[in-house]
Symmetry: C2
Subunit: 95 residues, 2 copies
């Protein structure tokens, strides 16, 4: 649970989640390219790799190895715990 919040704290990691939402199962190099293009993030491959490690530790991303490729898949289920921990207030329940 701790890891999820830490993971979401960084804008680059959030952009990675956005990218995987747009196209699931990307490799590290694909993510680097698309983050540079669409999000204007000029980070190094190692930087992105370290960010992915954080996301994997948080359980928000899991990976599948295939030969020399490693594909990354989004898992949003840890996010549900957030709204479960601090439920909507009564004024929000019935709009």
């Amino acid at each position: 649970m701790e890891g999820v919040f830490k993971a979401l704290a960084d804008p680059t990691r959030r952009a990675i989640l956005d990218e995987l939402t747009d196209r699931d199962g990307q490799t590290l190099f694909e993510l680097c390219a698309r983050l540079a293009m669409k999000h204007g993030m000029g980070s190094t491959r190692q930087a992105i790799s370290q960010h992915i490690d954080v996301l994997v530790s948080a359980g928000l991303v899991h990976t599948r190895r295939e030969g020399r490729y490693k594909f990354h898949y989004l898992d949003t289920s840890p996010l549900l715990d957030i709204t479960r921990r601090w439920p909507p207030t009564k004024t929000q329940e019935a709009p």
Copy 2:
């Protein structure tokens, strides 16, 4: 939106949200006392105050002044944007 993630990144701030979930409308001193008791957090009043500033900036807490007291109220509505940004995957939609 940025502020919400930053705010949630700190365990003390999450404990404050927990406290306000348990009892809404507490003052700064009440929060300090209960954080020390229940959550074992020996932070200073100023530290808690600075955390509250972050939570207010994030829109997760709003305040009401009354004489020399200042009451703090929880607002969880910004949290809904999180699961709205990264929606549940198909495997999670129908369990």
